[in-house]
Amino acid sequence: MNAIRVSLLHLRIGVMNELQYRVNFALQVLQSLLAVATGLVVLWLVYSYTAELNGWSESELLALLGIQILMGGLIRALVQPNMLRLMDEVRDGKLDYALTKPVDAQVLVSVRQVEVWQAVDIVAGAVVLLVALTRLGGDLGPANLAVFAIALALGAVMIYCFWLVITTVSFWVVRMDHVNELWEGVFQTGRFPVGIYPGWLRFSVTFLVPIAFAVTVPAEAVTSRLDWQTFVLAAVFAVVLFAFTRWFWRFGLRNYTGASA
């Protein structure tokens, strides 16, 4: 309970901090619009040559695009800033300050930083998704929507775990430059359903970098192609990954000696 209270407090401080910089909002809106526009051009180009890509129609792929943008915004707003800060602090030895606090260290390092303007992408993604769902015109009952919401949440947790595992590696490998670029590049694979990729890549972006669980699976939920086995697999994998992350984080922490102290 204490952990949740601390998280919410940090979230509030972070949001208030960021709200001071309003020009950043306008810039973020422009950036999101450009990202959506580029995505739409790609979609239009692809479907000017074909009616179906790997069994996905244009509106279905639009829904996937919306979810990818939404998930990207979520990660950039809440997960990435914390992890990048953690990497810096491990390098500079400033993590000492966080470790001496009487709260679970994993909770603390995961909630300290928030980039609220990135939430524009969450809204942009949701709008794209809504447009796609309207065009699809299918009848999504409350059950479907619940499955979608759970799949999305599981996906977000898995991406968080992935980031924390990678960041934990910085206890051993101090220089982690370009991890962010590497991530941004790989996350773009989520713009298309995982099924179109060749086997080695499909495996990588499902189990090594859980983008397929974070984007394709929720998209399958809203385009009524999700079978229950996949859903159960997502849930099990999320639990296993979370447990592993927790263990790995503690293991890494034992290796931390404090660079400057």
Binding site: L27, L30, T38, V46, T50, G185, Q188, F192, I196
Partner: protein, 278 residues
């Protein structure tokens, strides 16, 4: 030889020596940080691999080719893409913004050479490192995606020149764009708009044959295709000898335009400069 000619020759010799030394330094530094470079280059491989998989899938699903382009062609196109993309990385407007905001430029203005020489030489040295590091990536991607490529000696020669032409054109264009930062240090928005147009009109997103006819016509009138589509096509396409040489001529033309625009912008911009936080 007249005295003026001697002075001129001395100046060129000095500039040449400067480029050789600066490039050598940057090559050595580049190899020192090769792991970081590799992470960066691997991150960039994701983008062409996605395009490649999507268009190969479409080609296969529509009976082996789309608009006459086969999966083998797409594989060759996007593998060469990875090198051309790396050659296109130059000193950005963000770099100019940083330089001006932090007052870095003040010190650079005191040096005997124009700052652009330092950028050009530095990044050119880095490109040598990139080309060496790229070779294993190209081999790995070729094993994975099976490109069909059939090159003539002239194509290789033109490609080897064209990637450096692309480097020059983009260097001058980006630096010219960077001049805007002398007036405002919020160049991000303009730059992103520029990047989007470049993405669509250069051949970075798809080979330009796949674009609607009017887009292809528009692309002819702009510099972007000569930094991206042309070098790739020189190697993987079926360009005639005339087309290959005409392409190099277009690159020379756009390099001159780039130098001209940059010099004009620089002359205006430098008067605006009043060292921030110098």
């Amino acid at each position: 030889m007249t005295e003026v000619a001697l002075v001129q020759e001395g100046r060129f010799r000095a500039l040449f020596d400067f480029y050789v030394t600066a490039m050598r330094t940057s090559i050595q530094q580049g190899f020192q940080y090769r792991v970081a470079h590799y992470m960066y280059m691997l991150g960039m491989v994701a983008e062409p691999v996605i395009y490649l998989v999507v268009w190969s899938t479409i080609a296969e699903e529509s009976g082996g080719s789309v608009n006459g382009l086969t999966p083998g062609y797409f594989a060759a196109y996007y593998i060469v893409w990875t090198l051309v993309r790396n050659m296109n990385i130059v000193f950005t407007p963000y770099g100019w913004e940083w330089r001006i905001r932090e007052g870095e430029l003040s010190g650079q203005l005191l040096r005997p050479l124009h700052p652009i020489h330092y950028d050009l030489a530095w990044f050119a040295g880095w490109k040598v490192v990139v080309i060496v590091l790229w070779l294993p990536i190209a081999v790995a991607l070729s094993l994975l995606f099976d490109p069909s490529i059939d090159v003539r000696p002239l194509e290789i020669l033109v490609f080897a020149v064209a990637i450096w032409g692309a480097y020059l054109i983009r260097s001058f264009n980006q630096s010219a764009l960077g001049m805007i930062t002398f007036w405002t240090t919020r160049v991000g928005a303009i730059f992103q708009l520029y990047i989007m147009f470049e993405l669509l009109l250069s051949g970075r997103l798809v080979p330009l044959q796949l674009m609607p006819a009017w887009v292809e016509t528009l692309a002819w009138l702009l510099p972007f295709r000569w930094t991206f589509f042309f070098p790739i096509q020189a190697l993987v396409g079926d360009l005639s000898d005339q087309e290959l040489l005409a392409g190099l001529a277009m690159q020379a033309f756009w390099t001159c335009v780039g130098i001209l625009v940059f010099s004009l912008a620089w002359r205006k911009a430098i008067r605006q400069y009043s060292a921030v936080a110098g």
